[in-house]
């Protein structure tokens, strides 16, 4: 096996495919990857395309990625069969900065659970763990953690009917009231609008947070400029950004570049991403 994995892709056989739900599948590969929670790899399906995916499962000899079947590429990816070859470059990006404390909240929205799951596994067992999704079917990893999760869904099909921010705000206020120690860090990943709300909430209570952003990517290593968000290079400076950085990022939840390099607002960006 090649020692360097962030240059030309290494081709790995799909060792195991786990269907998580109607929309999600997790693909496992037997390879010992150097890895930090929050980092991502570029996955190449030869002849098709190459896209960034977070590592959602990791141990010494195996790693996994969880993919939501949305467009052409991700549908092809979840349709791969055991034994099929896929290419990998990476891992890229900075990953989460972890602190040792139990006054931590982790807030996952939908597929945003993917990068957070290996992080949670490194954290204290008595952290606050909030998990939201469109509906019950989109809740990932039901039996993965021995940590209690607070669940919410947009449609109320499981847990609280409403947003993750509702639960986070309740927790913060509750801690204030009960004289519990305030949160020292909030980690979050999910739709950018959700992360932005979590960020604003944290700001109003002076709690530092770390969010994991997503932009269209080409190189993955900070050269091509496809993924810039303001003056930040998401693939290299990020994808994880902390509050201090986010305060300087005017484009957070506002502007993203299309494939052509054209800067558009997030609505336009997502409707472009839906075209195929």
């Amino acid at each position: 096996m090649k020692p360097v994995t962030d240059q030309t892709p290494i081709m790995l056989k799909l060792a195991h495919k786990r269907i998580d739900s109607a929309n999600f599948a997790t693909l496992f590969f037997d390879y010992s990857l150097d890895f930090k929670p929050g980092q991502f790899v570029m996955i190449w399906i030869p002849g098709m395309d190459e896209k960034p995916y977070t590592i959602s499962h990791h141990n010494k000899s195996r790693f996994g990625i969880t993919i939501e079947a949305k467009g052409l590429f991700s549908k092809k990816a979840v349709a791969m069969e055991e034994g099929d070859l896929m290419g990998f470059r990476g891992p890229f990006g900075n990953g989460f900065h972890t602190i040792s404390s139990s006054n931590i909240a982790v807030v996952a929205g939908g597929c945003g659970m993917a990068p957070l799951a290996p992080l949670v596994e490194t954290l204290d067992r008595d952290i606050i763990f909030i998990h939201g999704a469109r509906s019950k079917e989109f809740l990932l990893y039901r039996h993965r953690f021995d940590i209690q999760r607070q669940i919410c869904t947009d449609d109320g099909s499981q847990g609280h009917k409403g947003f993750v921010t509702d639960l986070l705000e309740k927790e913060i206020i509750n801690r204030k009231k009960t004289d519990k120690q305030p949160l020292e860090m909030v980690y979050t990943c999910g739709p950018e609008i959700m992360m932005h709300r979590v960020f604003l909430l944290c700001e109003s209570f002076d709690i530092p947070c770390q969010v994991s952003l997503e932009r269209y990517m080409r190189c993955g290593f900070g050269v091509c400029g496809a993924c810039v968000c303001g003056e930040q290079v998401v693939c290299k400076d990020g994808p994880v950004f902390d509050s201090k950085r986010l305060r300087t990022m005017d484009d957070f939840n506002k502007i993203a570049l299309l494939k052509s390099g054209k800067p558009v607002n997030m609505d336009q960006y997502f409707s472009w991403r839906c075209q195929s």
Binding site: T8, G225, V233, D251, L258
Partner: protein, 306 residues
């Protein structure tokens, strides 16, 4: 220092197509020690570029076939509005598929008043069956002359090392009115095949080579061009250290560009290279002006040896 009448903090230039996708990142690169920043090449019509993989690191350099993505010159009003209030010198790179297209893009861009306009002539000439503008003296002359007519800023012609004799192309550009030469664009082209996938890795199959492995080609090109023209040269290709910059300047460069180097040392590479360059100059008790083109001088040994 002065370059074509403009003040630059230092002789380093950000290569086109590297990072330069918005005002904020250009400003950050400038703050990190880059004297002149170049925008991603602007083209005649909106273009997504190629599918991924488009950029692959090969360890001693990289290969890319991004495919000249561009919002298209007519769709960049907001970007230009932001750039109006910039506090750094700006080099706008443009391209086209025909002389007319180059002119159209140039006319639009000149009105936005960048400090320099760089024309990337490594594009296939649609009128000449895909032949690249920059490998042919006549087409290089024509496109430079046509663009020069419609712009108010100094014109920088960016050349490709795929020309059989790059010095002749440089001379044609000078004759056509170019104010400076930028050399080189990516070398090759190359191809990397993944033997497990049994397929070229780049979606576009072939791509341009950049980074440390092309430095000897870039140095040779700058050396040849320096002999052929009297306008200044931006030397570019494989520079990652202050010593590389010294080498480029000794070959004849006035400014030194950095692109792929950002992969190997991060955005701060500009500060690092400046510092290394300056400390080299200090240790050797010399100046940029004194070492420029130094590799062209013969010394006493050479005469006795021939």
């Amino acid at each position: 220092m002065k370059f074509l009448g403009k003040n630059l903090n230092n002789p380093l230039v950000l290569a086109s197509g590297v990072l330069g996708n918005n005002k904020e990142i250009l400003e950050r690169v400038h703050k990190n020690g880059c004297g002149l920043v170049t925008m991603k090449s602007i083209g005649p019509a909106p273009r997504d570029g190629h599918k991924n993989p488009t950029v692959i690191d090969l360890g001693h350099g990289m290969i890319n076939a991004v495919g000249l993505p561009t919002p298209g010159y007519a769709h960049m009003e907001e970007e230009w509005k932001a750039l109006e209030k910039r506090n750094f010198p700006l080099n706008a790179s443009i391209y086209g598929g025909s002389v007319k297209e180059y002119q159209a893009v140039a006319q639009f861009v000149t009105a936005k008043n960048p400090d320099f306009i760089e024309i990337n002539i490594s594009c296939p000439n649609s009128e000449e069956h895909g032949m690249i503008f920059g490998v042919n003296e006549k087409s290089a002359f024509d496109v430079v002359a046509a663009v020069k007519k419609v712009i108010d800023q100094p014109l920088i012609a960016k050349l490709t090392p795929q020309a059989p004799d790059i010095a002749k192309i440089a001379k044609a550009c000078e004759d056509a009115g170019a104010d400076a030469i930028c050399a080189i664009n990516t070398a090759g082209p190359g191809m990397v095949i993944d033997i497990e996938a049994q397929m070229p890795i780049l979606a576009f199959k072939k791509g341009g080579l950049s980074g440390p492995m092309i430095k000897p080609i870039a140095i040779r090109c700058v050396y040849d061009i320096y002999k052929a023209v009297s306008i200044p040269i931006i030397g570019l290709g494989g520079v990652t250290t202050g010593e590389d910059a010294v080498e480029m300047i000794m070959a004849g460069a006035s400014l030194v560009g950095i692109g792929s180097g950002v992969r190997y040392r991060g955005i701060n590479i500009f500060n690092q290279v400046n510092q290394e360059l300056n400390s080299w100059l200090t240790t050797h008790g010399t100046t940029l002006d004194k070492i420029r083109g130094a590799a062209h001088k013969t010394n006493c040994f050479q005469e006795s040896a021939q």
